[in-house]
Symmetry: C2
Subunit: 365 residues, 2 copies
């Protein structure tokens, strides 16, 4: 059971839309064409404005159609109705495209479009890209959902990407995303053999699992959210193997706790690492570099360099390559670090993010 929402828009001459008579004419044309598909429609309500028009059509109080005409030369129409499971939609994407094409001709538009039908009330399937574009995933099951003290944790199953970890309604990693982990760790470029490594976060276990294949001396992973690890151990074991199940081995240990506390402890013990991985919260996408998240990012960076050997490296994910503003803000933070650091970047198209992502390799200058 979902509400089906079909959104049309048409750009027309603003001369037409700035005249109230012509707006009525547009409404009449739209109604005429919509009537071919929904023959019982009636006008339920209309609002006339000095600079626009809005009305509601309904068929049997079941299908609701709102039409809006903006004086600036824009017409929007929203069709919405309820669809029971297993029933055929009243309007397929093809038939909505046909209606769009007919209206585009009749309204003599500059451009027109109809969006693929939006399905609401069902399992979550719409997620934003890093730059807040809408992406619909081919989700066919909610596998796991629970709220930890830190966040809402979901495992959703995508037909093509496998199980996906969703934290607070944002994509984190999926079974399809080995490339994410390999680019984060710079597989083939960095040599981890015999090295000491600290992972900040990394609760999905994929980074730890891949690092252990490279024969490090020891990896310590600091993850705050026990429940994330339980969920990933159960539903993402194709990418994390048994590391979240075992929690420790000859050359690794997972510690459940606040990574900042543990970094402070390492600093006091003068414990140093060859690599520190920042596998925590995403960088905010824009705005001034102020607020809790940026404070957190700065804290993480400063502490990380205090537990790194002088020739050590801090490796982390950045953001979608489309988020240039966010990436610049992050790089500004790197430039403010003392002692000074230098950095390189690498990028990869991450399947479950459906976009190219930037990764940073930071070391002392």
């Amino acid at each position: 059971m979902t509400a089906q929402t079909i959104l049309f828009d048409f750009s027309v001459d603003s001369e037409k839309t700035s005249d109230s008579k012509q707006r009525q004419e547009i409404a009449k044309i739209v109604r005429g064409e919509v009537e071919n598909i929904f023959p019982q429609i009636e006008l339920a309500y209309q609002m006339t404005m000095e600079d626009g028009f809005f009305c509601v059509f309904t068929e049997n109080k079941e299908t609701m159609i709102t039409l809006r005409i903006f004086q600036q030369g824009l017409v929007t129409m929203n069709i919405e109705y309820y669809l029971e499971d297993g029933k055929e939609p009243l309007m397929s994407f093809d038939s909505s495209k046909r209606l769009e094409n007919i209206l585009a001709k009749k309204l003599k538009v500059h451009s027109g479009q109809v969006l693929p039908t939006l399905k609401r009330g069902d399992v979550a399937r719409y997620f934003p890209s890093s730059d807040e574009r809408i992406i619909e995933y081919d989700i066919d099951a909610l596998v796991f959902e629970e709220r930890s003290p830190f966040q809402k944790i979901q495992i959703l199953h995508s037909k093509t990407l496998g199980n996906m970890l969703i934290l607070d309604e944002l994509q984190n990693i999926a079974e399809s995303d080995l490339i994410y982990t390999e680019t984060l760790m710079g597989r083939g470029k960095e040599n981890y053999e015999g090295k000491e490594i600290c992972i900040l976060g990394g609760g999905d276990g994929a980074l730890l699992y891949e690092l252990l294949k490279e024969k490090p001396k020891f990896v310590v992973m600091l993850e705050i959210d026990e429940l994330v690890m339980q969920a990933c151990n159960k539903y993402l074991n194709t990418i994390c193997g048994d590391v979240l199940e075992k929690r420790k081995g000859d050359n690794y240990e997972i510690v459940v706790g606040d990574c900042v506390d543990y970094m402070k402890k390492f600093i006091s013990e003068d414990r140093k690492f060859d690599y520190v991985f920042g596998d925590l919260t995403d960088i905010p996408i824009s705005g001034a570099p102020v607020g809790e998240i940026w404070d957190f990012i700065r804290t993480i960076l400063e502490h990380s360099f205090k537990i790194l050997k002088s020739d050590g490296k801090y490796l982390t994910h950045g953001n979608g390559t489309a988020c240039t503003e966010s990436l610049e803000l992050f790089e500004d933070q790197l430039r403010l670090l003392r002692p000074k650091v230098k950095f390189t970047t690498s990028k990869a198209f991450v399947p479950s993010f459906m976009e190219e992502w930037l990764f940073y390799q930071v070391s002392l200058a």
Copy 2:
């Protein structure tokens, strides 16, 4: 200038939504929270139904908010307003998420979501995946748009994918998509040296360009749409080089015309090829294998095997791997071919399709 459309949905106990008093209560809660963001809102219209509720709120006849309560336990809210270029949105994605979170708590929902803000009336940015999921691209410019006798041709620029060829409002290929061409041709698996090749379609020139790097004896490309080639030559030359500019060379020739006509000509001349590429219309995604497009697909397949040497191969794209129904229908067509054929498949995640795509290699059984 765009209309901003923000869609919320909440799943609640159907006990609540099947009672008219409780529906009024829900509407009151929603209005209260929306008022915190749009303080001037007024009720413009409401429709009471036996089994549901619908109303329109407005702020200054500028922001229109429709609220609908379905008895089955679903609440949808649509907020829509006009945004001038350069102005700040009335509601950021973050603030819409905050509103969603507050309402989710107050309405005691099972689940709730708000979709990333939809922008309407601007350059086309929403395209469907092969299985009709909505995907928003980071389009920042309409580079070219013209209608040929065959189709609407657009070149759009994506910030991360480069220039994209759009035919009749569907994604075709982008500068990011070398993997598409390489998977279609099976680079590294097939040996094209000294071979005779026929490309059906392929107007973007990328396949021809890549094949010529493999030292074939001769490639003939049959493309019907002159205007597509002109557009791609101008705006996609990073993927097609100079092949569309030159049109012929020592070992290739592009013929502008209907590929079926030319295949008939080749059959009458007994001209045979080592490889035929089907780089034409996409396979329809579902339904019975009837209608013009399926007739066309069958015609192409039958003719292709008549111009192939007995050890030749027909290589083509299939569809998104999520479109299992469509792929099965296509494979049914392959099984019906006489003489009998056998086939293998390969797949790749194509950046500008934002999904994994299946490719076929078909040869005589």
